[in-house]
């Protein structure tokens, strides 16, 4: 099956199996291994990317459903010399331990902050990140980082 998707601003035309998942296309065909597959059962959120402006679990989206869509992965939001404010806030607040959940956390948190228009409190962040699991259990600093990034993203 032929699909065309725009990933991090680049158009890609790909021939993929009918049962391919978006997460596998990103990782194995496009080499974007920042999108992690943690549980593979739609629970953990390590695979979260943005698809047409919404945070989705890419392990639970068929490649065909993403045909024609604009996808942004963790690789598309910043680089080491120019971190996204959310990435910078995660670094500042020590919001990661092993780092496995971090790409999904950051992609979810960016969507959460963008849609909330700078009004999130701690409870909103904890609710908004319900679909992202950190097995190091480092939630406290993650919440701190998201609240800090909310201010940074407003002024950016």
């Amino acid at each position: 099956m032929e699909i065309s998707i725009t990933v991090n601003g680049r158009s890609e035309a790909l021939d993929v199996p009918d049962n391919a998942l978006l997460a596998d296309v990103l990782r194995e065909r496009l080499g974007l291994t920042g999108t992690h597959v943690g549980c593979d059962t739609s629970q953990c959120g390590a695979c979260v990317v943005h698809m047409d402006g919404a945070a989705v679990k890419s392990c639970t989206v068929l490649a065909g459903q993403a045909n024609g869509a604009e996808v942004t992965t963790i690789e598309g939001i910043g680089d080491p010399d120019n971190l996204h404010p959310m990435q910078a806030a995660f670094r500042e607040n020590h919001a990661l331990q092993c780092g496995f959940c971090t790409p999904g956390m950051i992609m979810s948190a960016i969507d959460l902050v963008q849609k909330a228009d700078g009004q999130l409190d701690e409870g909103d962040v904890r609710d908004g990140l319900e679909g992202n699991l950190c097995r190091c259990t480092g939630y406290h600093n993650i919440v701190k980082a998201v609240l800090a990034a909310q201010d940074d993203m407003k002024s950016a």
């Binding site: 099956m1 199996p17 009918d18 049962n19 998942l21 593979d40 059962t41 739609s42 629970q43 959120g45 979260v48 919404a54 945070a55 989705v56 679990k57 639970t60 989206v61 068929l62 065909g64 459903q65 045909n67 979810s108 969507d111 959460l112 908004g128 990140l129 319900e130 679909g131």
Partner: protein, 260 residues
């Protein structure tokens, strides 16, 4: 996942003819249940017919006394709507943010999962399920565990809800899956009150004994007087039938207290 043929039709007619031509086809809406099921090899359809390319199926229309929610409308869109605040609040409690960005009302009710949230609202509010073949009253739609009134190949196009005078939904979520262990939707429509229960039985149902009690006085204290037989309720690792019976009462009290 087993192999299947993926299709993305642009119209309902095309979807129906793809289904008619498939050995063992299935429709795909948001995929929040079907894709995990496929991944676990618990289903092996020959053809997956994605309804996501049919634009006419998405969106919310306010008709005055009723609202129409297109079958492919995502939970997040319903959660952000304001025509029926209790319905929006219910949609905002489904799964997590990512599930709400993909999951749809049509997919949810077509599945008739006993622990899904929407069915409580479908049976409690005066609702109609519009399909490619007919219109089905909301009260007749759910027929059992994962069983609905839908025929083979029939597609839900929209769900129409009559606006209640006031309503509220109270849910006891499973802390891991966020499915409803029990959820109760209370809707006042003029003098009448309707109570929809999900999570407790094989499919959503109306608690008519409580409705009768509430007719003689709308108060949470009516719950204690309402009969409820929990002997046939669901029992699993999450909750016994008896515990679910108690949760129905507690969630009903909360929903009544929150119904203005």
């Amino acid at each position: 996942m087993y192999q299947f043929n993926y299709h993305r039709p642009a119209s309902l007619d095309e979807a129906a003819s793809l289904m008619a031509g498939a050995d063992d086809g299935t429709y795909l809406s948001g995929g929040m249940t079907l894709i995990p099921t496929l991944k676990q090899r618990l289903a092996a359809p020959s053809d997956v017919i994605d309804l996501g390319g049919i634009g006419a199926l998405s969106g919310i229309t306010d008709n005055g006394n009723t609202i129409s929610v297109g079958a492919m409308t995502r939970h997040a869109e319903v959660a952000a709507s304001n025509a029926i605040p209790a319905l929006a609040a219910l949609a905002g409690q489904i799964g997590d943010a990512h599930v709400r960005n993909r999951g749809t009302i049509g997919g949810s009710i077509a599945n008739s999962d006993p622990a899904a949230d929407y069915p409580a609202a479908v049976v409690a509010l005066d609702s109609t399920i519009h399909t490619t073949k007919r219109s089905i009253p909301g009260g007749e739609f759910f027929q059992g565990l994962f069983e609905t009134a839908l025929d083979e190949g029939e597609i839900i196009t929209s769900v129409e809800f009559t606006k209640p005078t006031s309503a509220a939904y109270a849910k006891f979520p499973n802390p891991a899956s966020r499915y409803a262990v029990v959820g109760v939707f209370v809707a006042r429509c003029g003098d009448a009150t309707c109570v929809g229960v999900t999570g407790a039985g094989p499919c959503a149902f109306r608690w008519s004994q409580l409705e009768a009690e509430l007719a003689s006085g709308f108060s949470a204290s009516a719950v204690a007087n309402a009969g409820l037989d929990h002997s046939e309720f669901n029992a699993d690792i999450h909750a016994s039938a008896e515990f679910r019976g108690n949760l129905v009462r507690v969630m009903a009290e909360r929903a009544i207290a929150n119904t203005a």
